[in-house]
């Protein structure tokens, strides 16, 4: 009687182990499929021409994604410029103040912010910035994206700094350093690896965000570097052109998708490399 039960349980255990193995493998499938599909579809469209020209009117051959590339770069750069200082310093505050009302509410807000749908953020940005400023602009797009970057940067900064040994700060204070120097000259340099990977992760996250840009940056068929005017970006271009009825534009969308994919992959690999290289041995 007992041995029957044991055989059954051993079998069940083996089955379970096999299941976990299979499912882990299965997780790799979507990524593999996406990579394969997009590379296959997009690789033929990419050449130097593709990267430096703006889209042509329908029917004309050629054209490229130059305006979207430049646009993405500018919008993301501006968003980073806004979000990084605020995020890091807020993270510093939270790591310094574990208790306290402001810390509690700040942490709570940041966590909730992380869960707000990107389209809602886009709509809010529309009402806050687009309407008062009288038009779509890259700037409002950057603000929307910055709001999305904040939670990631704040949390990763806070977690990185919390892991630093308190003896580090004590050593700095004991040498007569004022608070701001302790933070900028000791704490942040030692934790730079973790902080930087948090920043990179937030950039990787917003690189592909389309929804917030729909109501803010809006898109622009021409090459423009004016942040107060509407600007094109890669996800917007993909969204618009992939859903259009024109084959030429589909081609552009595929090429753009591949570029976007390469960009995100590159960011992730780059993050891993520099955070390993800049990691300070405690």
């Amino acid at each position: 009687m007992r041995t029957d039960n044991i055989q059954y349980r051993i079998g069940k255990s083996k089955g379970f182990k096999i299941l976990t193995f299979v499912l882990a493998f299965a997780c790799m499938i979507p990524l593999a499929a996406i990579l394969f599909f997009i590379i296959k579809a997009g690789i033929t469209r990419i050449n130097f021409h593709f990267l430096v020209n703006i889209p042509r009117p329908v029917g004309e051959k050629g054209g490229g994604i130059a305006n979207a590339l430049l646009g993405s770069v500018i919008i993301i750069a501006l968003a980073s410029f806004i979000a990084i200082p605020i995020g890091i310093l807020a993270g510093v505050y939270l790591s310094e103040n574990k208790k306290g009302r402001l810390a509690y509410w700040c942490r709570l807000s940041v966590d909730i912010l992380q869960g707000i749908p990107s389209i809602v953020i886009g709509i809010i940005a529309y009402f806050w910035l687009v309407k008062p400023l009288g038009g779509f602009s890259a700037f409002s797009g950057s603000v929307a994206l910055a709001i999305m970057m904040l939670p990631v940067i704040v949390r990763s900064t806070e977690e990185t700094l919390k892991m630093l040994p308190p003896s580090l700060k004590e050593a700095a204070f004991a040498l007569g350093m004022p608070f701001h120097r302790v933070i900028f000259k000791v704490i942040i340099p030692v934790g730079i690896s973790g902080i930087l990977s948090g920043v990179m992760l937030s950039i990787a996250r917003i690189t592909g965000e389309t929804a917030p840009l729909l109501f803010t940056a809006f898109g622009n068929p021409y090459l423009s570097a004016d942040v107060t005017a509407p600007m094109q970006s890669l996800p917007l271009l993909i969204f618009n052109y992939a859903t259009s009825p024109y084959n030429d534009w589909h081609d552009l969308a595929w090429g753009a998708s591949l570029i976007l994919l390469i960009w995100v992959l590159f960011l992730n690999v780059f993050t891993k490399l520099i955070s390993a290289r800049w990691k300070v041995q405690l």
Binding site: L168, E170, A171, A172, F173, L175, G176, M177
Partner: protein
């Protein structure tokens, strides 16, 4: 007659409602090594941290009473000036892990934004490392990171970093409890040499260490300063029964 450098009068310290240092009166003479000992939780570390105002960095920490250096009230001075005159070495060696040995020694200047000529920096580094008997061991690898040294060397590096600021007093919070016996012996040798130029106050759990290295010993028990006398007297014939019970290993 030795001159007094640090004086405490009716000094108290608390963490919120927890009164951990009670009414301490002590006169610490210049160029002496003072050992502060007592069982865990007796307030000795808290008292030490009040001397260079590190105590107030902890939320809810308060203190009152007088603490003065050279007859100047420490709590009326700006904490930064206090810490430039009173350096501290901690229990676990804590050199800055992202800086080289050279930069670690002059960290107090460099990270404070004090600009020095290269020759002056070199002089300070050599002088400080020599004072802690580390110069010969590291002079060829000054640009290596500080964390690649052994525990005893790291602790001496931390002492060099404190000494480089040319303080008058050096505080040590159980400086050898994380070190092996040989490193401990090397650091104890240093105390003897350092006292020529500085006043040393050392909190230690290790009674034998207190007996070996100090000129005077202060015994804390449950927040009070129970006995403070020449080390010789404390260890041959303590005046208070509590002191005797502690050093002979009989509790209560």
């Amino acid at each position: 007659m030795e001159s007094t450098i640090i004086k405490s009068r009716k000094f108290n310290a608390s963490f919120g409602a927890n009164h951990v240092v009670k009414n301490v009166n002590i006169d610490i003479p210049r160029n002496n090594v003072i050992a502060v000992m007592g069982p865990s939780g007796c307030g000795k570390t808290t008292y030490l941290r009040c001397i260079n105002r590190m105590h107030e960095l902890i939320p809810d920490a308060t203190c009152n009473g007088t603490m003065s250096i050279n007859d100047e009230d420490i709590y009326k001075m700006h904490p930064i000036f206090v810490r430039l005159k009173i350096g501290m070495v901690f229990q676990r060696p804590n050199p800055f892990p992202n800086l080289s040995i050279y930069d670690n020694v002059i960290a107090g200047y460099k990270l404070n934004g004090i600009k020095l000529a290269k020759a002056e920096k070199d002089r300070i580094v050599e002088h400080s490392l020599t004072k802690v008997a580390l110069w010969n061991e590291v002079k060829d690898s000054l640009l290596k990171k500080g964390t690649f040294l052994s525990g005893g060397q790291q602790q001496r590096l931390c002492i060099a970093r404190a000494v480089a600021m040319e303080p008058e007093v050096l505080l040590f919070d159980e400086p050898t409890s994380a070190l092996d016996p040989i490193s401990t012996a090397t650091v104890e040798e240093l105390f003897h040499e350092l006292k020529a130029n500085y006043t040393l106050i050392i909190v230690t759990h290790n009674m034998q260490q207190a007996a070996r290295v100090s000129d005077r010993t202060a015994f804390f028990y449950m927040g009070e300063l129970v006995e403070y006398d020449l080390t010789k007297n404390v260890f041959t014939n303590p005046k208070d029964n509590r002191t005797q019970n502690y050093i002979t290993g009989r509790f209560s």
